[in-house]
């Protein structure tokens, strides 16, 4: 298409990205260095960042967040890696239907999904009712750790991101020649050795993509811990939201957002750089 410049096509998208994406993110960085709470507006300061780094409870929240995110990532890899293997090598006829279901799980409304787990996991939820019916649990002392604690948060987050864990690993495994695995079997390698020596190294780029797509966003989760979590599972995303919507401390909220943004950005960049060093195509 001669005579047409790409900038003509790109003008509208770039202007909108500038106003509604770049400018708001820059605002986060700007406001983070200003006093901007209900009582005190204006003037440059570093105190927002100082507060974040020096408040003990914030540090505790960061630790809890890291715990939950890491645990969730591990659960997803433990379930997602075998599932990707099954889909890539064993599923045959139901390979595509299962992928369709994984896509579907991702497209259902997240708040509705979170609510559904509340119905199942609650003190009077389906699981407790079922256990009572069988007589394993008395109705006066239902299992209370199922909901409003770390368990529920990890379960619900794992289900929210499983699509993004399985699909990249599956795509990487799909590129592995099945005859490699057959050859290893013929030469007497057991399932553990086949996994560690063939599957894991060759699907490493997929695992890597999955970790970036899933692990980093987990640090900014807000709706899930609010709706199914409790005091023991209070996460950074919740803190950030509450600074904005409840405390009205825009300065500190912006500073925390900016920090999370930079931290996840640095982690993503570092991961990408390491992957390039290893010549993984990610």
């Amino acid at each position: 298409m001669r005579g047409m410049t790409p900038w003509w096509l790109l003008s509208a998208p770039l202007v909108l990205l500038g106003i509604f994406f770049v400018a708001p993110l820059l605002t986060l960085f700007l406001i983070g260095f200003q006093h901007n709470s209900l009582f005190n507006v204006g003037g440059w300061t570093l105190s927002n960042y100082g507060t974040i780094f020096h408040t003990g409870s914030y540090r505790q929240i960061a630790v809890t967040t890291t715990e939950i995110a890491t645990l969730t990532m591990l659960v997803q890899l433990l379930v997602g890696f075998p599932l990707a293997y099954v889909l890539a090598f064993r599923a045959r006829g139901w390979e595509l239907p299962v992928i369709l279901l994984l896509v579907l799980a991702d497209e259902l409304n997240p708040i509705v999904r979170i609510y559904a787990y509340r119905v199942v996991l609650g003190r009077e939820g389906i699981i407790n009712r079922g256990l009572e019916a069988v007589g394993l649990v008395s109705s006066h002392h239902p299992l209370s750790w199922l909901l409003f604690d770390k368990f529920a948060v990890v379960v619900v987050l794992s289900t929210s991101y499983i699509t993004y864990t399985v699909i990249p690993i599956y795509a990487a495994m799909k590129a592995i020649d099945p005859s490699l695995i057959e050859a290893a079997t013929d030469l007497g390698a057991g399932w553990f050795r086949r996994t560690m020596r063939i599957l894991v190294p060759l699907s490493a780029p997929g695992i890597f993509v999955a970790i970036i797509l899933v692990y980093l966003p987990l640090f900014t989760e807000f709706a899930t811990p609010t709706l199914v979590g409790g005091t023991g599972s209070y996460m950074l995303g919740q803190l950030n939201a509450e600074l904005i919507t409840e405390s009205g401390d825009l300065g500190q909220g912006a500073a925390l957002s900016a920090l999370l943004l930079v931290a996840t950005g640095v982690m993503a960049a570092a991961a990408y750089y390491l992957a390039r060093l290893n010549r993984l195509d990610a």
């Binding site: 298409m1 047409m4 790409p6 096509l9 790109l10 509208a12 770039l14 909108l16 990205l17 106003i19 509604f20 994406f21 770049v22 708001p24 993110l25 605002t27 986060l28 379930v79 599932l83 599923a91 045959r92 390979e95 595509l96 299962v98 992928i99 896509v103 579907l104 799980a105 497209e107 259902l108 409304n109 997240p110 708040i111 509705v112 999904r113 609510y115 559904a116 509340r118 119905v119 199942v120 609650g122 389906i126 009712r129 499983i162 993004y164 599956y170 795509a171 799909k174 966003p217 900014t220 709706a223 709706l227 939201a241 904005i244 825009l250 912006a254 957002s257 999370l260 943004l261 993503a268």
Partner: protein, 311 residues
């Protein structure tokens, strides 16, 4: 699907089935051979149960007469659907979500396709940077975009009068969250048939408009259809942006969220959630068929099309 299975494997499988050794195989060996298959099925069933069991329970409960969550199945009723329909808050929330999603989808299709064309059909300075910027909203968490936009709109009151936090700001911010998805889907499809066919058409005397209408669009249509459905779904489901940028305007996810914070387990949440989920299931199936349409001949490519389409 079995029809695309390599012939060698089927032959071997048939040979194994026919071999006399198999019949005399000791029971223990037969059990051991079937373990991987059983484990595979068990794993898939387990994951699907955890993913969809709760939603299915919700659908079942939405037809249950009991208002108290502790008493299950007191008889069949469609009462909650009537209640949901006549709840004005819920109706306006769903309406808001639908209007926003339609506008966001329309804008995302146009912007996303334009960006995809520019990135795949032109070589120019700054192309990498543009592609990176257009892809960035897919990577930056929506919570950060939401908080940033909330502060931005609230603090600066951009475009005075028109943009306090409202459905308008939700629509604007959702557009930039969603059109990169369309860009990704369309760009991956455009990259497939490179420029050869377009050049051929131009050499044969086609005008620019003819190339677009006769060569490019027909090949893009299925991908565009699927992209539109995913864009709509992303907009409809985008809780973070709705919550932070919506001000006093409620959308469906925000309505469910605030109902849950006030009085949990309302039967009308069950009913409305079930209806919405049913529509979403249908939409995803349609999108899936569109994506696979040209690729049914080659299963591996079929799966990869879908993977390209995933954010």
């Amino acid at each position: 699907m079995s029809r695309t299975e390599p012939a060698v494997v089927t032959d071997r499988a048939r040979a194994a089935r026919a071999s006399p050794r198999r019949a005399t195989m000791p029971f223990r060996v037969r059990v051991r051979r079937s373990i991987p298959g059983i484990l595979s099925v068990a794993l898939v069933v387990f994951v699907m149960l955890v993913l969809f069991g709760p939603i299915i329970m919700l659908a079942v409960l939405s037809f249950d007469k009991s208002t108290i969550i502790a008493l299950y199945w007191q008889g069949f009723t469609t009462q909650w659907y009537h209640d949901a329909w006549s709840n004005s808050d819920l109706r306006s929330a769903v309406q808001n979500s639908l209007v926003v999603a339609v506008i966001v989808t329309a804008f995302s299709m146009v912007l996303g396709t334009m960006t995809a064309f520019a990135i795949t059909r032109f070589r120019f300075r700054g192309r990498g940077a543009v592609a990176g910027l257009a892809g960035a909203p897919l990577v930056v968490p929506w919570l950060m975009i939401g908080i940033g936009a909330a502060i931005f709109f609230f603090h600066y009151q951009v475009l005075p009068g028109m943009f306090p936090l409202s459905l308008w700001s939700v629509t604007a911010v959702q557009i930039i969250c969603t059109f990169p998805l369309v860009t990704a889907v369309v760009a991956s499809r455009l990259a497939r048939f490179e420029g050869v066919q377009e050049e051929a058409a131009v050499d044969l005397g086609a005008s620019r408009l003819q190339v677009l209408r006769r060569v490019i669009l027909p090949q893009l249509t299925p991908a565009l259809g699927a992209a539109a459905i995913f864009a709509f779904s992303w907009s409809f489901n985008n809780f973070e942006i709705d919550f932070f940028v919506g001000g006093y305007d409620q959308t469906f996810p925000v309505w469910v969220y605030s109902e849950l914070k006030r009085a949990p387990n309302l039967p009308i949440i069950n009913a409305s959630s079930t209806l919405i989920s049913a529509v979403q299931v249908l939409m995803v199936i349609v999108a899936w068929r569109l994506l696979l349409r040209d690729d049914t001949a080659d299963e591996r490519r079929g799966a990869s099309t879908v993977i390209d389409a995933l954010p």
